[in-house]
């Protein structure tokens, strides 16, 4: 029996509300999804939160999955979880900024509490803008094709290709310095 048959059985189990099937799904995808969140946030605590949120969301949404590439669907949900967090973070940053104006000075490393534990790649990734970072990580962790990514992002495939190429080239230059 192939991997797709196994995955199909696990998904059907999840759709029937079987906790065991969800555990199989967690075992199969937790690493990749965690890597995706970690590379985007650079923060283990945040990645922990986002991964928990993702799987709880999957419980609530799994019946909406109607076939097709499961990983594309899964990473679409993961991408939404990340964007929700990003919006909340931006809202918090504005509040924090307003607070900072009132009570100076503040420690600079508050922005990235994990910054001194980051590996080299993470440090260089932080130099890319969020959208470029996301498109690179989406491709790497979801293993989507460019066509699937373009469809997910609602943009022409040429735009996705150019963005990934530019971002990866820049990242390689930074890593090779």
């Amino acid at each position: 029996m192939g991997r797709n048959d196994d995955l199909g059985r696990v998904i059907r189990g999840c759709q029937a509300g079987e906790a065991g099937s969800f555990e199989n799904l967690i075992d199969a995808y937790a690493n990749r999804c965690y890597g995706y969140f970690y590379r985007l946030t650079g923060d283990r605590e945040v990645s922990d939160e986002l991964l928990s949120e993702l799987f709880v969301k999957l419980v609530l949404k799994i019946r909406q999955y109607r076939g097709g590439a499961f990983e594309t669907w899964l990473f679409r949900v993961a991408s939404n979880v990340f964007h929700d967090w990003l919006r909340e973070k931006q809202r918090q940053s504005k509040l924090l900024e307003a607070e900072r104006h009132r009570n100076r000075p503040q420690a600079a490393e508050d922005e990235h509490p994990d910054i001194y534990e980051m590996d080299r790649l993470q440090t260089e990734l932080e130099k890319l803008d969020t959208d470029t970072k996301e498109v690179i990580m989406l491709r790497f962790y979801s293993q989507m094709s460019f066509r699937e990514m373009a469809a997910l992002r609602g943009e022409p495939i040429g735009t996705t290709l150019a963005k990934v190429h530019r971002g990866l080239k820049k990242l390689r230059e930074l890593m090779e310095q």
Partner: protein, 166 residues
């Protein structure tokens, strides 16, 4: 991690740029993919995974009936509600059916009565003439039978013509 998905990167880039630039772009991506593979991200801890599994279990228990309940009873319930709604609507808006007027053909009724009267009158007249004619033929009234007979025949023809004109 292998992210290639058997995509022909060069062919994809050739839709945007020339063959040499496409080859270069595909090579850039392959080299960067290697760097990403050589720097794996940390994974989730065992504690986190156990915690997520517990959380998932409790979410299923909390919301299970509403999310994972079989679809058939839900569909049946919706169909029942629609059916009841339809029946109530019909009852509310139903009216007594208007009495169907008897199908009548006015010209037939009117003319039948009139024609019946005419027919009776003509029939009586014809009978009278026929008996007169017979009497004449037999010479019972002692008159000039032949002339009278001719007059009677003419009169009979006129009456008959009038009858068919209506």
């Amino acid at each position: 991690m292998n992210t290639q998905k058997n995509e022909n990167l060069k062919a994809l880039f050739e839709t945007l740029v020339g063959p040499r630039e496409a080859e270069q772009a595909a090579d850039d991506i392959r080299r960067a993919d290697r760097i990403l593979s050589e720097h794996p991200a940390p994974g989730p801890s065992e504690e986190l995974l156990a915690q997520i599994k517990t959380q998932v279990r409790s979410t299923i228990e909390r919301t299970g009936r509403s999310i994972f309940g079989p679809l058939l009873p839900k569909i049946a319930a919706v169909a029942a509600v629609l059916l009841v709604g339809a029946v109530i609507s019909l009852r509310l808006f139903e009216k007594e059916p208007a009495p169907v007027p008897p199908t009548t053909i006015p010209w037939e009724v009117d003319n039948l009565v009139a024609q019946d009267a005419d027919l009776a009158a003509f029939s009586a007249e014809i009978e009278q003439i026929e008996s007169d004619l017979l009497a004449l033929q037999l010479g019972e009234n002692g008159s000039n039978g032949h002339l009278d007979l001719t007059e009677l025949e003419i009169e009979l023809m006129e009456i008959s013509g009038d009858f068919w004109k209506g």
